[in-house]
């Protein structure tokens, strides 16, 4: 399994965000993409997932397992997307949120079991009927991840998934996300501005790190990363 981006261009009006970008994302690894805010990282994820705002023009091919998906509607691409705010649907309880992700092909008697399994997997037993508003930030994040995974995506996109979490929760959750993703053996693309995220991703999964700068994506070597790190610290 893999995901491949070819000749991707994005623009808002006359302003070009990304021009003719190519990227290969390997399965089982967490590929990181860094870049300044406003550089178009998140927009790129929207384009890949098929949820681009209609005011933004996008073009280029997206291949998931060799299949072109760029002309499919979002729901048929099978590309999961996880945001920094664990966005649970506020009018549904935890179980219903997870059920929303689960494919309708799973028959009724098995559904609840599957959801319970997912909750156990995320060490969240006993919150099935809870209102998402009452959960802690860490709990919410894990529910959101499980919801995405229950949909059995062929690829996973992470949009700054850890930036809103407390330092303590962040570490354990980050490891949990990467482990789970690697276990599923699907391509993962993570957009972040936190150098720690990329370092963990690299050390755990061996995924490469890229930088989005001046409308182009360039690979970052270890030296560059240190540099970026220093720049951040300053």
């Amino acid at each position: 399994m893999s995901m491949k981006l070819e000749q991707i261009s994005l623009s808002v009006g006359s302003q070009t965000l990304i021009e003719n970008v190519e990227l290969f994302i390997e399965a089982g690894k967490v590929t990181s993409l860094m870049g300044a805010s406003g550089s178009g990282k998140s927009t790129l994820l929207s384009y890949i997932s098929g949820t681009l705002n209609h005011k933004i023009a996008g073009s280029g091919r997206i291949l998931v397992n060799g299949q072109e998906v760029q002309d499919l509607p979002a729901e048929r691409r099978k590309i999961g997307l996880l945001f920094q705010d664990a966005l649970l649907f506020p009018h549904l309880n935890v179980g219903e949120n997870l059920g929303f992700g689960l494919s309708s092909a799973v028959e009724k008697p098995h559904r609840r079991k599957k959801i319970q399994e997912a909750l156990e997997r995320a060490q969240l037993t006993g919150i099935y009927d809870k209102n998402p508003v009452t959960l802690s930030g860490g709990e919410r994040s894990r529910v959101a991840l499980m919801r995405t995974l229950l949909a059995e995506p062929d690829a996973l996109l992470l949009d700054e998934p850890f930036s809103r979490l407390d330092e303590q929760i962040k570490q354990s959750f980050r490891e949990f996300v990467f482990e789970t993703a690697m276990e599923k053996n699907i391509p993962v693309l993570m957009v972040t501005h936190d150098i720690q995220d990329t370092q963990v991703a690299q050390s755990m999964s061996g995924g490469p790190v890229f930088m989005l700068e001046q409308q182009q994506i360039k690979p970052l070597g270890n030296d560059d990363m240190t540099q970026t790190n220093t720049r951040r610290v300053q």
Partner: protein, 413 residues
């Protein structure tokens, strides 16, 4: 990249677009064969009328009349399986304008008005435009009971009725006054002026072209000209000076009116409310039972009395007619016939119901029908035309228009 549309929009499309399509395309219900009065019998008409919906356009400002029309609706539903819809008008000319607009738009059948409560200039307008169906009166079985010698039913505002409208009742323009403040009601226009000068701000009349307001002007016209025969003819250059005294009188009256005549009540019901509120001491009505019923219902003070002036009271007939382009002519005829039945007429004449004077010649009715009216008379619930002073016939309808136009030019600007 745009979001792909789903079948759900097709569904919404079908519902909403289908709905608007339905609005545009619903075929009007039509009768298979056109109605030819010379080739059809009354039972056949009743048969064809069954199940029809009749839109009766009738002035709807009086709750008691509306209630009577509702009663008619219930009766014809039960007896003839007819649905009667009372289209309430603020002024009969609204419906006349609609019929003429339909004619202008080429809508010669399937019109929106099936039956119209009408007389005078509105009748004259429709007759002149050939927009009345008939003659229908002779076809109606109950027409035999109508007082056919009544001049108001032969000529309506001097225009020959010709069976194009069916008599329904008789009206007389009566005065209501509060006997607590008016001890000796004026008996002529001049006495009225005198009273008004002694009691400024306590008298007013409905603003023409309101029906009653214009009738007040006509009554003045007849009184001042002492029923000149020129009034039965159209207004001409040589006869129009006859109206001058009316406006000289109104000029003198104006500063003495309620609110110095700067505003007038919109119609006779508004005037009645002013009398009820004690803002004025007089009201005018074409329904001689108005005062009595107002007192009974508690709207008017018990001191309110009804009378007509010694110089006479304007009197006319009122009718129902069927427009040429009506959709449910048979149903309209069945209703017109029902309205002439002794039972319907007796109910209408009951002061507690409406108090409108009957169109029938009571002496010629069958005994059991006569008994209905006799019972009312015994219980003092009946008003008869001969109770009032001289009744004055309506002038030619062109006088109505002439008086209204001059009045508007002089007082409405």
């Amino acid at each position: 990249m745009c979001v792909k549309p789903r079948s759900f929009y097709t569904w919404i499309f079908l519902v909403v677009f289908g709905l608007s399509g339905l609005v545009a395309c619903t075929p009007p219900s039509k009768n298979e064969t056109p109605l030819n009065l010379s080739e059809i019998t009354w039972p056949q008409i009743e048969e064809r009328a069954r199940g029809q919906t009749v839109y009766w356009n009738a002035w709807g400002g009086d709750q008691r009349i509306n209630a009577y029309i509702r009663w008619v609706g219930a009766e014809v539903k039960e007896k003839y399986d007819l649905t009667l819809v009372h289209v309430k008008l603020n002024d009969t000319s609204e419906a006349v304008a609609r019929i003429l607009a339909e004619k202008a738009a080429g809508r010669t059948d399937d019109g929106t008005v099936d039956l119209i409560w009408i007389n005078g200039e509105n009748f004259s307008d429709l007759k002149a435009n050939n927009m009345l169906f008939g003659p229908v009166s002779g076809v109606l079985p109950n027409y035999q009971w109508v007082d056919q010698e009544q001049p108001a039913f032969i000529e309506d505002f001097t225009i020959a009725v010709d069976g194009l409208q069916v008599p329904w009742g008789l009206s007389i323009l009566v005065w209501l006054y509060d006997s607590q403040s008016v001890t000796k009601p004026p008996q002529s226009p001049d006495e009225l002026l005198l009273w008004a000068s002694e009691n400024p701000g306590r008298f007013t009349y409905p603003a023409p072209p309101d029906f009653v307001g214009t009738s007040f002007l006509k009554q003045l016209l007849i009184a001042f000209t002492e029923q000149d025969s020129l009034l039965t003819l159209p207004v001409s250059e040589t006869s129009k000076h006859l109206a001058d005294p009316v406006f000289e009188f109104l000029d003198q009256l104006k500063p003495l009116l309620w609110r110095e005549g700067r505003t007038l009540p919109t119609n006779s019901l508004a005037l009645k409310q002013l009398l009820a509120d004690g803002e004025v001491d007089f009201s005018l009505s074409f329904n001689p039972a108005d005062g009595i019923s107002g007192v009974l219902s508690g709207q008017l003070a018990e001191s309110v009395k009804t009378y007509t002036m010694k110089t006479g009271a304007l009197s006319n007939g009122h009718f129902v007619a069927i427009p040429q382009n009506a959709s449910a002519k048979e149903g309209a005829m069945v209703i017109a016939n029902f309205l002439l039945s002794p039972a319907a007429q007796a109910k209408k004449a009951d002061i507690e119901v409406w108090g409108d004077m009957s169109a029938l010649d009571i002496d010629n009715l069958e005994p059991e029908a006569q008994a209905l009216f006799e019972k009312l008379q015994q219980e003092k619930r009946l008003i008869l035309p001969n109770q009032f002073e001289r009744s004055l016939a309506e002038p030619h309808p062109s006088w109505t228009k002439y008086l209204e136009r001059v009045w508007l030019e002089r007082y409405a600007q």
